[in-house]
């Protein structure tokens, strides 16, 4: 941690100084019953809050929870000054004596990330602070003797009408009860809305808060009935709860650090083992204690799930990128509350990098397989449609014509001859369509004669001039020939459709145990590799043979598509 060490140290000194001042004041007080007990409890609670707060702040300088705890500790120590014998100090201390409750509610609302998330909660905090400062005023304005006859005079007394003071006090107490109910209601709502890991973090503080506020409310309620007493002194149960908060907080902090460190260590060990049913995801979920954790993989400039299906980063959740050797491999999508522990997230992400990379390859493979399957289905649908709309319709029409012709032969032979002639024409067209369709599925010449003849056939049928630079005469393995053929066919189709070229050149070479297929044109360039499914389908087809596909298409300088397929 490179954060300033001076500010915490200064605050610690200030806390000790305030404590010392309080000690002197309490020790010399004329109106405190058991000064040493009051002092011991008061100092213990105040310094515990300040110490725990400063520790938390030094661990997470960017999180204001620690500072809020420190502030609560200071506000608590101010309470000790109520023991002062001087009128002015006494009066000011009484006004400030409830501030620690405001600070505590502030902490509750800002926990765990140190920021108040909702405007409503902010107003609640403001109202609490206001009431804390305004609450003692009715008594101070009307004379304090009602509550404590040994206490010094109020420095701001304006009337000695007891009734007015009582009325004001009841009003303030009622407001405090409403506010207390409101705070408890908000805390309960937060608990209900919290996720499992959030609840683990929120739990101790939230329930201490509920207990303390309930006790404060009960005390205020009792005092409203029995009459006012020295303000700022919690009943013993309340003091116990309040004293416990910094310790449960510290314990939680330590426990989660230790637990997470253990979990990360265990994760490192278990990552080496064979994956279980829930695999990597389950292990990371265990390590981070977040059962909702998900993994996404970075494939082809997009997020995919492990099964290869594309996914989006969820809007509400937080995510931590996983990188390996400076390359993005994937992301851990986790509960927002885990952001409070960036070191743990980072070490888990670092530990997961290698394992995620191999799962990423699987995901990429599944994605490409899924695309191949989808492309196959699409192709079948297209063929079905073409067959149905073309040859099949013609054959139905033909059947009909022949039936009519049969009926007409006896009655009107001329008409029958005419019908048979037209049936003949229909049949010719149906045959033409079937031939074209069959060629699209798999050109016979490719299997019979190999790539050279098939590429020549493509060139002859291309709507623009195609120069064949070089194609090996010898036969290549059938899948290689087919992949090369479809790369060339698709590329020539694209050139004719988009490139506005005057000529295309095709070359197939054998280089270093690879078939290198290259299609160049002199067109407008600027082809988008993501355009349509054609290129993606080709990349999958070539990728299935461990080959690669590269598109080079600078605007204005033609397009070159190159495929390298191991032979």
């Amino acid at each position: 941690m490179t954060r300033p060490t001076r500010a915490p140290a200064a605050l610690a000194l200030a806390g000790l100084a305030l404590g010392a001042l309080g000690a002197v004041v309490v020790a010399s007080s004329s109106h405190v019953d058991r000064p040493w007990l009051t002092l011991a409890i008061g100092l213990f609670i105040g310094e515990a809050w300040i110490g725990a707060g400063l520790y938390a702040w030094s661990r997470r300088p960017s999180n204001h929870v620690g500072l809020l705890m420190t502030w609560t500790g200071f506000a608590w120590l101010v309470n000790l000054l109520v023991a002062a014998n001087g009128e002015l100090v006494f009066t000011l201390a009484v006004i400030a004596s409830n501030l620690y409750l405001g600070a505590f509610v502030h902490l509750l609302m800002a926990y765990p990330d140190g920021r108040i998330r909702r405007p409503l909660w902010r107003r609640l905090v403001q109202a609490t602070y206001a009431l804390c400062l305004l609450g003692p005023l009715p008594l101070l304005l009307s004379g304090f003797e009602v509550a404590c006859d040994t206490c010094p005079q109020s420095a701001i007394q304006v009337t000695s009408d007891e009734t007015l003071g009582r009325i004001g006090d009841v009003a303030a107490s009622s407001a405090a009860l409403v506010l207390a109910a409101w705070v408890i209601w908000v805390l309960a709502a937060r608990w209900r809305a919290a996720s499992v890991p959030q609840r683990r973090t929120l739990g101790p503080l939230l329930w201490s808060g509920v207990a303390l506020i309930a006790l404060v409310a009960a005390t205020i309620g009792a005092q409203t009935i029995s009459g006012p007493q020295i303000p700022g002194v919690l009943p013993l149960a309340g003091q116990l709860v309040f004293a416990s908060v910094p310790f449960t907080f510290l314990a939680g902090l330590l426990r989660s650090r230790v637990a997470r460190a253990d979990a990360v260590n265990e994760l490192l060990v278990r990552l080496g083992e064979a994956p279980g049913t829930d695999g990597l995801r389950g292990r990371l979920a265990d390590a981070l204690g977040d059962p909702t954790l998900k993994l996404l993989y970075w494939v082809d400039e997009g997020w995919v799930r492990k099964d290869g299906r594309p996914a989006e980063l969820p809007v509400g959740a937080a995510w931590t990128p996983v990188e390996l050797d400076g390359q993005r491999v994937g992301a851990i999508v986790h509960d927002r509350s885990l952001r409070a522990e960036p070191e743990v997230l980072n070490s888990v992400a670092a530990a997961a990098g290698l394992a995620m990379r191999s799962e990423r390859l699987e995901a990429a493979l599944r994605r490409s397989r899924a695309r191949i399957v989808e492309a196959g289905l699409q192709e079948r649908r297209r063929l079905e449609r073409n067959l149905h709309d073309g040859a099949q319709q013609r054959l139905v029409a033909l059947s009909l014509q022949l039936r009519i012709a049969q009926n007409q032969i006896g009655k009107a032979p001329d008409k029958a001859v005419e019908l048979v002639a037209s049936a003949q024409e229909e049949l010719t067209r149906a045959l033409e369509e079937l031939r074209e369709l069959a060629r699209g599925i798999h050109p016979a010449v490719l299997s019979d004669r190999g790539l050279q003849a098939a590429v020549e056939a493509l060139a002859v049928r291309s709507p623009l001039p195609v120069k064949i630079e070089e194609v090996p005469e010898e036969r290549l393995p059938e899948p290689v020939e087919a992949a090369a053929y479809f790369v060339i066919a698709e590329a020539l189709t694209n050139v004719a459709k988009y490139a506005d070229a005057s000529e295309a050149t095709v070359a197939v070479k054998r280089v270093n145990g690879h078939a290198q297929v290259e299609i160049r044109d002199d067109g407008v360039g600027g082809a988008d590799p993501c355009r349509g499914s054609g290129l993606r389908g080709l990349a999958d087809r070539v990728g299935a043979l461990d080959g690669s596909l590269a598109l080079d298409s600078p605007p204005g300088s033609g397009t070159t598509l190159r495929a390298e397929i191991p032979v």
Partner: protein, 221 residues
């Protein structure tokens, strides 16, 4: 050729239905079908035995269903010079046609299977091949003529000249071209001379040499 002695034909086609149809069609048109074969081996045996004037052969036959018909056709041309071959293909596959016709166009033909339905065209092709001529399917010719070339010399031809070039490539004689286009043979000769000079081809009189030259030219793309 005298019409009194019918031309002898051997038919090789693995689909029985189509084979029966072909046999019937040929017999109805006055040919003598001397033998029928269901695969290439059978075909070669029957050609050896019957010495037919022409063998009508399907490209795809058992066992591999690729191009054994074509290979059998070339073997027949080599082993039995007196027997012409007419290959029938399901596909417009210029590679097959040009392979078959690239060395010699004599007594050789390549037709789409669909053509058999057009009885006159088909029997005409059979007779032409039997008589030592050639027959190339119009669709293959159209494909070759339609090929886009850079600085296409074919663009220098008139529409009529292109028609004549196409008919030449199909393997027709000047007389047949004249008949098809309803012009005089003299006019056809003029067109042919013009075409050969525009395409920078050496003029030749013999029909099958002429086809060879034209095909070689069209193929060179």
């Amino acid at each position: 050729m005298s019409t009194d002695t019918p031309l002898k034909v051997v038919v090789a086609e693995d689909s029985v239905l189509l084979r029966e149809g072909l046999v019937r069609l040929l017999e109805d048109s006055g040919f003598e079908v001397a033998g029928q074969a269901g695969d290439a081996e059978d075909l070669l045996r029957k050609v050896g035995a019957h010495k037919p004037d022409v063998a009508v052969i399907d490209v795809r036959m058992p066992p591999s269903h690729t191009d054994e018909g074509l290979r059998a056709a070339r073997k027949i041309r080599a082993d039995h010079p007196g027997t012409g071959v007419l290959v029938l293909s399901q596909y417009v596959e210029e590679a097959y046609a040009l392979d078959l016709l690239s060395e010699s166009t004599e007594s050789t033909g390549y037709l789409l299977k669909d053509r058999v339905a057009d009885v006159d065209t088909f029997t005409d092709a059979v007779r032409r091949v039997a008589g030592g001529g050639s027959a190339l399917d119009p669709e293959v010719v159209a494909l070759l003529l339609g090929r886009r070339r850079r600085e296409d010399p074919l663009e220098g031809l008139t529409a009529r000249e292109r028609e004549v070039l196409g008919l030449m490539a199909e393997g027709r004689s000047n007389a047949a071209i004249a008949e098809a286009l309803v012009v005089t043979e003299r006019a056809v000769e003029k067109h042919v001379t013009s075409i050969f000079s525009k395409l920078d081809l050496a003029p030749t009189v013999e029909d099958h040499r002429r086809v060879l030259a034209v095909l070689a030219y069209l193929r060179s793309g």
